[in-house]
């Protein structure tokens, strides 16, 4: 039974996702799927495909008179070149492109307006997010299934999907970058694991491609690339051996670097063309940056406003998993902890540490594919202790139920989109009207 459910888990989630999607976007006064940050991520796709213009100017002229973009998009012109500077990189648009091309063909076929934002484009962009989430989930299932029982893998997938804000960002905010990052980081973990255990020629190219896409989608996620050289290094004495191994595989390492560089190169070229600089902080003009010396650790992890563990308490088991991990999970613990801690530090150091309007803390979603390994490690540890199992099962079930209920509250617009105080949280707890 469990094997069957696990085999069909991605399909089951796809059906749930489509049902949620149809409900969300067919209700009266529904939001457009392409909105907020999703607008900025998507913007390149119609500019390339329909307006044949890298500068975004043609799109601006057609839609907004050429002198502006919608205020929420925060588009500014570079002082050096007078070209439009989009604060979000091109990676999401690149990954969306196959979907947008299909939308464009359908638009022509159905005689809808070929403007980049009409019916098919809206849904293609959002369903691209749902599709990449499902791809990420399928890859994660594959990774977990190699080292954990079917039961542990299934529990982990259910908890990650419905016990966190991952499902929400696949269904409601699919045009944001997070599920694209989730999928590509799941792929990186899977390929890195295979490359170090049973290397094949295609692994180097695939690793380079995925590494490049990770950076292209969200630059700060570049830190997860540390996983590739450090995968399986769990103690200091192994570092020396790993350096030797990397030297032995230097041709593959060069191939990874070359492919990754080729994938990232268009973004750097775009920065250079738009601003005159190869490396840019597009947020600088908005007065945003990092405060690494004073990170909002409490706020990002535990607060009612956005705390990762406050809104997705099942992930506390993943933290416990870091301490009780055995076998393969123990083997990959070291680099994973380094990446997770660095990632949390970067997220908490962002001046806008709440990451704008969102459900739960969305910035952590990108690395859920790494956290899931240790959630599975915790479930595996607990399943070996029969007296613990009922408690863990009940706690996990409650955490998932709470997360789903709170997600539905967000969908019903019960929760304020930011700055939720404890008093506000208590007043709105499990209210649905």
């Amino acid at each position: 039974m469990i094997d069957r459910v696990l085999r069909h888990f991605v399909a089951i989630v796809a059906v749930c996702g489509m049902a949620g999607y149809i409900w969300l976007f067919s209700r009266p006064a529904a939001d457009a799927p392409i909105r907020s940050d999703g607008y900025n991520y998507y913007l390149y796709a119609p500019a390339w495909l329909i307006y044949h213009d890298l500068s975004l100017q043609a799109l601006s002229e057609d839609w907004y008179g050429g002198t502006a973009f919608p205020k929420f998009a925060g588009m500014v012109r570079s002082e050096d070149t007078d070209r439009w500077m989009n604060r979000h990189p091109i990676g999401v648009a690149v990954l969306m492109l196959p979907f947008v091309i299909v939308a464009d063909l359908l638009t022509r076929w159905s005689n809808l307006p070929r403007d980049g934002f009409s019916f098919y484009y809206q849904h293609a962009a959002a369903l691209a997010g749902l599709a990449y989430f499902l791809i990420g989930l399928a890859i994660l299932r594959r990774t977990l299934s190699r080292s954990f029982s079917a039961q542990t893998t299934l529990w982990t997938l259910v908890a990650m999907t419905f016990g966190t804000n991952l499902f929400h960002y696949a269904v409601y905010d699919g045009t944001f970058s997070h599920v694209f990052s989730f999928a590509s980081i799941c792929a990186l973990v899977e390929i890195a694991d295979r490359w170090w255990t049973r290397p094949a020629r295609w692994h180097a190219v695939a690793l380079g491609l995925v590494a490049g896409l990770i950076v292209l989608v969200r630059h700060t996620n570049g830190i997860v690339l540390l996983l590739v050289p450090a995968w399986g290094v769990s103690r200091w004495p192994e570092v020396r051996r790993r350096i030797d191994e990397l030297w032995q595989r230097r041709r593959a390492v060069l191939a990874i670097a070359a492919v990754a560089a080729a994938v990232v190169a268009p973004q750097l070229a775009l920065y250079q063309w738009v601003t005159g600089h190869w490396l840019v902080n597009p947020y600088a003009v908005h007065g945003l940056g990092f405060t690494f010396g004073s990170p909002h650790v409490w706020g990002a992890l535990f607060s009612t406003e956005r705390g990762l563990f406050f809104w997705s308490p099942v992930l506390l088991f993943a933290v416990a998993g870091l301490f009780v991990a055995r076998g393969w999970a123990r083997h990959v613990l070291g680099p994973s902890v380094v990446v997770l801690v660095l990632n949390a530090w970067i997220i908490a150091s962002w001046m806008e540490w709440q990451y704008g309007a969102s459900y739960g803390h969305r910035a952590f979603i990108d690395t859920f594919g790494i956290l899931a390994l240790f959630l599975a490690a915790f479930f595996a540890w607990a399943s070996a202790r029969p007296r613990l199992v009922p408690y863990v099962a009940v706690a996990t079930g409650l955490a998932i139920a709470l997360s789903v209920a709170q997600m539905i509250q967000y969908w019903l617009r019960i929760w304020p989109t930011r700055d939720i105080t404890w008093d506000r949280y208590r007043a709105l707890f499990l209210t649905f009207r």
Binding site: K71, L112, D115
Partner: protein, 147 residues
């Protein structure tokens, strides 16, 4: 995969394609139009952005398209709205006075396709940039239908 399955797949694709060539819901599709509002006099209108699209029934022979600029063009110049039907130019409508509703009656050319609906595209010569980016106000469209 059996031949039967391939044939069923091809047939399904062709059926979906035939359906989407002239979807019955196209008449409800709009793009580049904000929500309906009403002004102090009770006139119902929607703002366009710099461009907007909507559909009219395929058997319409003419449409009256109320438009009001509200904001003048650069240096007080009139605002022009280019109207196209199914991608072909139909008319340029000039809105000389920002506060005045203009109600041009636009004859729709004979249909070149057998679709249920015809796409009308508006391109506005200027936008007013504030909290929102606005083109012109469009009112409720009146249609002349074929007898």
């Amino acid at each position: 995969m059996s031949r039967l399955r391939v044939a069923a797949g091809v047939a399904a694709v062709l059926l979906v394609a035939a359906y989407l060539h002239d979807p019955p819901w196209a008449g409800r599709i709009t793009s580049g139009l904000l929500d309906w509002e009403d002004d102090a006099s009770g006139t119902i209108y929607r703002w366009t952005l710099g461009r907007a699209s909507f559909f009219v029934p395929g058997d319409a022979t003419a449409m009256t398209l109320p438009m009001r600029a509200v904001f003048p063009g650069p240096n007080g110049a009139p605002v022009t709205v280019r109207v196209s039907v199914d991608g072909r130019w139909l008319a340029d409508v000039t809105l000389d006075h920002p506060d005045e509703w203009v109600r041009p009656v636009l004859p729709l050319p004979a249909k070149s396709t057998g679709r249920r609906f015809r796409r009308v595209d508006l391109h506005v010569s200027r936008t007013a940039v504030g909290d929102d980016i606005l083109g012109v106000q469009t009112g409720q469209i009146a249609l002349d239908r074929a007898p």
